[in-house]
Amino acid sequence: MTGSNRLEGGLIDRSKPLRFKFDGIGYSGFEGDTLASALLANGVRLMGRSFKYHRPRGPMTAGSEEPNAIVELRSGARKEPNTRATTAELYEGLTANSQNRWPSLKWDAMAVNDQLSNFFAAGFYYKTFMWPAAFWEKVYEPIIRKAAGLGTLSHKPDPDSYDKGFLHCDLLVIGAGPTGLAAALTAGRAGAQVILADEDHLPGGRLNAETFTLGDQTGADWAAAAMAELSSMPNVRVMTRSTVIGAFDHGIYGVVERVSDHLPEPLPGKPRQILWRVYSKRAILAAGATERPIVFENNDRPGIMLASAIRAYANRWGTTPAKQVAIFTNNDDGHRTASDLVAKGVEVVAVIDTRTDAPGSDLYDVIAGGEIDQTWGRLGLTRIEVKMPKGGIRRITCGALGVSGGWNPNVHLTCHQRGRPVWNDAISAFVPGDTLPPGMIPAGAAAGDFSTHGALVSGRKAAQEALADLGIDAKPTDLPQAEDAPVRITPFWHVTRAKRAWVDQQNDVTAKDVKLAHQENFVSVEHLKRYTTLGMATDQGKTSNMAGLAIMAEVAGKSIPEVGTTMFRPPYTPTAMGVFAGRSRDETFRPTRKTPSHKWAEEQGATFVEAGLWLRAQWFPKPGETHWRESVDREVTQTRKSVGICDVTTLGKIDVQGTDAAEFLNRVYCNGFAKLAVGKVRYGLMLREDGIVMDDGTAARLAEDHFVVTTTTANAVPVYRHMEFVRQCLFPDMDVQLISTTEAWAQFAVAGPNSRALLQKIVDPEFDISNDAFPFMACGAVTVCGGLRARLFRISFSGELAFEIAVPTRYGDALIRRLMQAGAEFDVVPYGTEALGVMRIEKGHATGNELNGTITALNLGMDRMVSKKKDSIGSVLSEREGLNEADALKLVGLKPVNPDHTVPAGAHLMTKGTKVSAANDQGYVTSACYSPNLGCHIALAYLKSGDTRMGEVIRLVSPLTGIDHDVEVVSAHFVDPEGDRLRA
């Protein structure tokens, strides 16, 4: 037997000893131990320090409700702060360190706070640290921040992976204690699809921690047998180490499976944890109950624990926090702990029962009507003082004190959809109310049914009820005989004369703090919580909320339910942020969309840039080019001189077909489309219903009843969604169909004076693409490269003679290679998004920077496009006065007066001679670039009355970037304003 406090028996595997370290000291435990049980077995009670007063603390519980024994588990990048020692499964080589203490757990300098606790009463910080005013941020707050916080993050990227999954079932059973097992057996045998989830690695719940029998088996054996049967059923999925963290709408539950937390590190290829979204038709809440403490003087010393936790450590883990244990109880369950401990050979020095009619015992000394008056032991309990019923104090030496204040049903998940629990006098606790998440049935201890027999029967009944709802007939399962003790409790919440008695142990909220909150009128439960921080610690108030409510009720002279109810929000237990993110992190944070020419562009050494989810070639550096501008200037110059090619696949493409297609486009575009000839393309301006420009693009009429609409890259999805809204919701009888074909076609812009000559080498000869046969704004189906179907559009974003050619996506890579090959004789260049941007600015075309969601057709100088002769989206609301001001912003071009100056985007514009201020703001720069054609920087901008201010010199200011100089207002069409090149 290892460890000074190890007992016989338990569900640990003594053939598998494990070594571990806590605060650098080596210990050993067994497989099946938690960090807390192994430390207790080694005689270690001190495991942490409290948040505010840095009081020495040991474990209070044996489960996920633990407030005190929280440690930094593991080291390096895998360090996990605030890990509950009571649930951390022991593994070989485990390392853990205490936290929130300096220099050591035993000698913590910040414990001086405890001496100054008079100053640190509830809400003290709201009343002080205000003088002198500047000291809050400079002096007080930095000190507070440094002192606050619990554990430390690793500061390194989490090396583990996480995953997500989806599961569906008829019945989700939450908790695998007696209730959950009975429910799962009943439903499983009936053939229903069942998921049984439990946070523990060992199903059975309290059955593993109790000594009573089910039929002729121990509880643990019965649980193991039930599990064996359930595991053999193909329709049942048993999930251990799986916490149901939240009950969301429509029967969807979040379940976190800790796949690897019990291992030194995840096995290769395995995630650390998985977030399951479980879609259930019904759910049974069989989450059991949590014992609650009693509040008394210095009730927070290491060794003072919940009685049921001491019982669990003895029965399940074969350990005890001390050799001499006392019990403080207000109900019969405390006596159960006492007799179990006696059976294990632990000396029970006294059972102090607050009830004057407490049951007696032959096994231990019962002090009926006694109360704990004081406790002693700086780093661990050594002695208690009991106020005797007939007066006087009795001092009792003991190393541990088990406290039982009754049990609270684990109603947490019933509150996740804002259901409120209701008070049940018989058990002096809140039980699930009527407003449950739809489909959820609480059962067993979670519903206030505390006996084992009651749990089994309740679980079975809940399963039958749930399945009957689903039309599945579940026969009653035979259940074993089990204990059926009634709950006998006389509520006793706190020892009233205590001076310092802890309600919320982690956050150091005392009974006095609760009373002070009342004195200052923070009476409602929510005020109490927020003012004192009661229940806001990492244990989420699981063991503290009730006592806080009870004390508030007492000082307010109200009943507990009058003061309020406990409310719980997701998650049930604190949950790693990594598991919510799953695989969405680093490069795979979001999908990456690649253009058809991506691989080819990579081969050319292109630099790529994110455009939404797309990666697009930004420029194609040539050997010897050391600055991106060199590459971009060359691409622009060569395109304008000869020919350039750019992948424009990312632009949205929407196929519009049907006899009403033209009329449909008439409605969605503000300009007219009804009369567009087949084989022609038209620029289209699309407004939102509020009259603001939504998007622009082109619509090509390929046939009487067939158009292809293009959108900007960013708006491909919203525009399609909008068009479907117009089609389905506004004009449902129009004969028109839409489909997004963005991914279906690879599309390249071929621009420059030699673009036609190049394309003539690609387009099959039977298609005449001469200027006469295929003029500006022509479109049509062609074939290329000897029969491959393609679409050709004579449209230009660059301002040059230009085409866009589209082929089915899978031919995109081949086409770019063929185009480049065919273009070799013209010194063709590929160009990226930067050159594309330069050329469109030179031509004065608007893109996303200009169409920023606040811009009208009037601002763009396109107000005459908004037809008033037809019904189109946005035309009516575009008439509002505020959108038609006399001095409205107009799109203009800007050139620096000093050609060496830049004209940066984001700068604001001021009239010369006026003060630089918001009141004098005349507009702002939307897009800017260096124009190799003009030999200077140029920009597009919105300027008040800009169309009437051509030639005016104005002041461009960007105080953010330290720029203030003069620019000249010019036409936005810097290059070829007459459009001769387009039509060449």
Binding site: Y126, L153, S154, D158, G578, D586, N852, G882, A905
Partner: protein, 416 residues
């Protein structure tokens, strides 16, 4: 009762027996000059400034539950004035200035902490937009600074700059931005208003308006009729529900916004940081919890709770910029009901009913506006003219086409 260093020490040494209620639980009187509906941050601030700044009296704040229980107690505590549009920026800058003097003004430590806010930039177009915004801020008298990626890394060494899907290309900082202890704002205003005679009446739900000949003369409440010369609605997410009782339809939808806090951690984040390629913003409270949030759930809701997909989306954003957060645990989530307006900007205005005023449409930016909203609303109530920084916040801006649309998303509230 004034809080002073002397008083704090005296009480500490004498068992805190001398602290009185932070505010009185007042019983409703038959009539007031001003009845403010809604004991949230904005309502309490309105009452305070009415009494202090505008020297008005006979003021009541009616709260259906307990004060500070709405969005002022359910937010991510951020204050900032980094707005783009002229209709907004002066107002939020005014608010930030009021925050800066709040503790001394209220004699209550609301822990205004100007540790800065940083908006990350991930694309050239975003940089252009942020430069325009930063310039607008400076032109309106606020502070702004464009930070390089190197400087950002110095301050936030744990940022993912090596293998990020959307690389960080800089950031726009407002160093005067920061956080405030949100609950304390409600309590501080309540206490200061109470000291100036304002009646704070909890558990007093307004069930109707008494409107006679186009004039509002008072409110029906759970505790009887209360007459008022002026009735001021200030109920955020419940705006449509309340104003429906006056037969008004509003340019507002109610949406749920979730927010989150992690377990307490030793300091890692010095200020507020927002991700620019997803929905995630985060700061660290003085207690050590990471306080973070993201986008609204996106559907009309009064349920004060959200769903899992948004939790996942927010944590994905967090992991994208801080991959160390994988092992930090999310402790608690909550949901507030946002009064999402049609252009993303608020309304502080008279209604077409005489004596009935409205303040709402704060979307999820109401917390930072609390002082200015209270001040401007008090100004409107006391003088019947809008405060100089709130002249654009009118009902008629929609019919006039003068929307204040920071995000450029148009008349769809869930996109703002």
């Amino acid at each position: 009762m004034n809080y002073s260093g002397f008083k704090v020490i005296k009480e500490a040494l004498t068992g805190h027996r001398g602290w009185g209620p932070a505010w009185r639980d007042a019983a409703p009187q038959a009539e007031y000059d001003y009845v403010i509906i809604g004991g949230g941050g904005h309502g309490l601030a309105t009452a305070y400034y009415l009494a202090r700044e505008f020297r008005q009296s006979r003021i009541a704040v009616l709260e259906k539950g307990w004060i500070g229980g709405g969005n002022v107690g359910r937010n991510t505590t951020i204050i900032r004035s980094n707005y783009l549009l002229d209709g907004n920026e002066p107002f939020y800058e005014f608010s930030l200035k009021l925050w800066e003097g709040l503790e001394q003004e209220l004699n209550y430590n609301a822990m205004v902490s100007q540790r800065g806010i940083l908006n990350l930039i991930h694309s050239d177009a975003q940089r252009d937009a942020f430069i325009r915004r930063g310039n607008a801020m400076i032109l309106n008298g606020a502070d702004a600074e464009l930070l390089s990626t190197t400087r950002i890394r110095d301050r936030y060494p744990f940022l993912n700059v090596n293998n990020a899907r959307f690389p960080i290309k800089g950031g726009l900082a407002q160093h005067r931005g920061g956080t405030v202890r949100h609950d304390a704002v409600a309590w501080g205003y309540a206490r200061a208003a109470d000291q100036r005679g304002v009646d704070i009446i909890q558990n007093c739900e307004v069930t109707g308006f008494r409107i006679e000949n186009g004039t509002c003369t008072g409110v029906e409440t759970a505790r009887g009729f209360i007459g008022a010369k002026k009735v001021a609605a200030c109920v955020a997410g419940s705006s449509s529900r309340l104003m429906q009782k006056a037969a008004m339809r509003l340019p507002i939808e109610s949406h749920v916004l979730q927010a989150f806090v992690s377990e307490g951690l030793k300091p890692v984040l010095p200020g507020v940081i927002t991700f620019g390629a997803g929905h995630f913003y985060c700061s660290q409270s003085d207690k050590g919890g990471l306080v973070f949030g993201g986008d609204i759930d996106g559907y009309n809701s009064y349920a004060q709770r959200g769903n899992l997909p948004v939790v996942e989306d927010v944590c994905e954003g967090g992991m994208a910029i801080f991959p160390m957060l994988g092992r930090a645990r999310l402790l608690r989530s909550w949901g507030g009901i946002m009064d999402m307006s049609m252009d993303g900007s608020p309304i502080i205005d008279r209604t077409h009913i005489d004596g009935l005023y409205f303040n709402g449409g704060w979307c999820y930016g109401g917390f930072k506006a609390t002082p200015a909203s209270g001040f401007a609303y008090a100004h409107l109530l006391a003088t019947d003219t809008p405060h100089e920084t709130a002249t654009a916040y009118r009902f008629d801006r929609f019919e006039r086409g003068r929307m204040i649309d920071e995000k450029g998303m148009g008349n769809q509230p869930n996109l703002h």
